[in-house]
Amino acid sequence: MQDNVAEVADERAGALPSVNAKVVSPESGLSPPVLAIDNLHVHFVTENGTVRAVEGLSYTVKQGEIVAIVGESGSGKSVSALAVMQLLPPNSARIIDGSIRFEGRELLGLDEEEMRQIRGRHISMIFQEPMTSLNPVLTIGLQIMEPLTMHLEMSEAAARARAIELLTLVGITDPESRLAQFPHQLSGGMRQRVMIAIGLACNPKLLIADEPTTALDVTIQAQILELMKDLSRRLGVAVVIITHNLGIVARYADRVNVMYAARLIETGPAEAVFARPEHPYARGLLAAVPRLDRGRSVQLATIEGAPPNLLDPPEGCRFRPRCRYAIDACERVPPAVETEAGHFAACHRAGEIDTLERATIKGVDAAASSDARADGEAILDIRHTSKFFPIGGGFLRGPAKLVKAVNDVSLQIMPGETLGLVGESGCGKSTLGRLVLRLDDPTGGEIVFEGKDLAPLSRSQMTDVRKRMQVIFQDPYSSLNPRMTVGQIIGEPMHVHEIRPKAEIPGRVAELLQLVGLFPYMALRYPHELSGGQRQRVGIARALAVEPRVIVCDEAVSALDVSIQGQVINLLEHLQHQLGLTYLFIAHDLAVVRHISHRVAVMYLGRIVELASSDDLFADPRHPYTQALLAAAPVPDPVIERTRPRTIITGELPSPLNPPSGCVFHPRCPKATEDCKKAVPETRELKTGHTVACIHA
């Protein structure tokens, strides 16, 4: 096939490439599916034993189809994709059994040289981190042209022409000059576009995307996924999307495969799986996701417990220990039951769960008292606060440039309420949180906490404030000191602030552990011995140790899996009721913010663009940016998703070093007029409690 490669590359509907020459289609006249995985078993041999990472996985992908593989971390979804590419770590991974057929040709057992011919040429893969999956020292052009010259043996000039064509295809403007640029000169979204361009370079039949948009902001995520869907339709490429985000699945996938603890537990057309999930885990997962189209009156259903340790998984059905419908039969491995055409669930009770659930479930309504107490004085009053970071500059380096991370922000938080703060990365929401905590000092403005401005307070005066204001961080892996036990972590603030006499601290630690749903014996454990959800609970217990009134939650649930996220959100809400806490809840996930917040502030490039009660904001967004954010965020329901209009904003977040004049949103705004470029729009109150900074709202 090396002789007429250029032609093959350009017409994909042509004759099958030679890789398929040996293959005889099983059905007469029908070409085999692009990818057929059958009974795949992958084990990892580790020091502590054998991890059964994938067990008996089977699925097929047809031409032009988008198939999603959904599951929580550790469920085996990425491992199965790497197995297809045969990129598993050779020292520890073993493919024990099964077959992986690409266009009918068995891939398992091919030698490295033969696999190399397939990788990149016929199957490409896109990884999660666009920042690290491009080589930083090579130009974009070189990296796109590499597979063309390697696999298709194109000439330099032909490869260059094709590279320009590919960049245009993935929506990168001015492609010719981009070829000479290095990855660091492009934004995250652009880099992911380049990755897609590289993936598509050789006209592959199959594109495997492993969490392709997890590292990207929601508006960029929508752009990338729309692009992938469009390309799949136009070029007939089959796509496998591996994701944990059910919203993405609902919007883009034709078929869904749900994995749990190394096994496929449910598979079917997207509409069927979302409308009529059969496996209790799939049902639980769908119920546990906070949704944009539901308010905070509904408490999240949760799946109790945590996924099993794959070193020593439970016998029979893996979900049995967490399943409320488990029966004796569940001690045997469940068969895949076809409940409707093409929709399978691996559950002994598939088909009857629906009726069971209706009989047992009682309406879970959150306490009616969840309304914010809007009266009274604000506990935290942020007045015209700014934070500018100098970039560059210094001795002999000339004047520094200023990054206006937070620019003239005013917000009031009432006692007992949850104020959600949403925005894309780089909008300054986390910086604002750090200013409130005085981890950074504000450049200007006042932050008044309980009637006292924090900005001029000295370190020792702040110590007193810190007892009443606490923080929960995003990453439960790095926010706990790995060298301290859980008991030391939680006990330390009580000891330092002398909140309790030394002798009472262990008892109080045990109380706090129980309060956050852990067990007193866990005080002796180290953080690495706990799961992600448990660690986040430890972080919450540490924050509660000083009995604070305000807690800043900085992306407190973003790093957790869906079923665990639901548990932690419920815990935070429960603690708020019980202890009368006030939350400043910073997050990028609109659905989570919608679920937990009484009021929501939307931030863009250092400014608050809209502020309203949660229901109001999501029902009637006024600022074009809020509207775009809401349109970009997918809802885990294919029926809604497929009828929803998609107004996807173009462009990317401008550099905060050089923000646009006037309204910072005007370069991306569909409603922008000349007036928007002139002056920063005033914040106007449209109706009680709903303010917008837009002249067109």
């Binding site: 702040m462 007892k467 790995p482 060298r483």
Partner: protein
Amino acid sequence: MADVTFTPSAVTPARPRRPNPVLHFIRKQPLGFVGFLVILLYFGMAIGAFWISPFHPEEIDFAAMLTGPNHEHIMGTDQYGRDVFSRLVYGARTAMAVGIISALLGCTAGALIGATSGYFGGRIDNLIQRIVDIMLAFPIIILAMVVVAVLGKRLVFGVDVNLIIAIALPMVPKMARIARASTLSIAQMPYIDAARAAGYSHARIVLRHIVPNIAAPYLVMVTAFIAQAILLEASLSFLGLGVTEPTPAWGLMLSGASADFYKAAPWMILFPGLAITLAVFAFNLFGDSLRDWLDPKMKG
């Protein structure tokens, strides 16, 4: 807490298996373990020198001058008829004491300075790092020689304190650099922010939250520096600036008259030279293995 319940399997405190660290080390780093055994051997020699050595190390026997290795003097004798093996065994005492004390001293001071520098950053960091730069500009041996020459000799419990300071000092800037680099990455961690948000003092954050987290590079550097310190002590003694006669020390055994007799009595320099080489090799082997073993990326 109706919404937070646990499955029965989670209630039973099934503690995750923690492998025995010693066995784990032996299995993962057999070469490092060999190094460790050699180090133990040296320690045994240093502690049990009195019982191990067949002669007193300073006992002069003119009848047996420059005797080659035989059944009585297994490593021969020197120009005063002193037993080389006994001097070697007692020399381990000097080497281990000076090596370990100075390495610990230099590394600890360096780690604290580096952690402080990295944690506070800004002006303090700049100042400390420039001082470190100046110290690093001197060759180790020159720096040590200057200290010995300026401070002279001061014996405390038979150990020259100034010699230890002279050997420890060149290690301070090196360790400070390493500790600062580790601290800079640890200071970025949210748990340090959490500690600041909880209102802890700077001293508490550095000592309680940062220092334990740089323990791994610290331990590795200590083992590496012990080897260097032994070498440095030998070099200084060889140059006549370290331990002085008649105290047995490896470097001393190589210097002076032994150089004149190396053709007639090669055992006089062969065995102390081997002792130094083996000790340095063992500490380096152990240090390298320790680094690999403590590196979380190498585990699993």
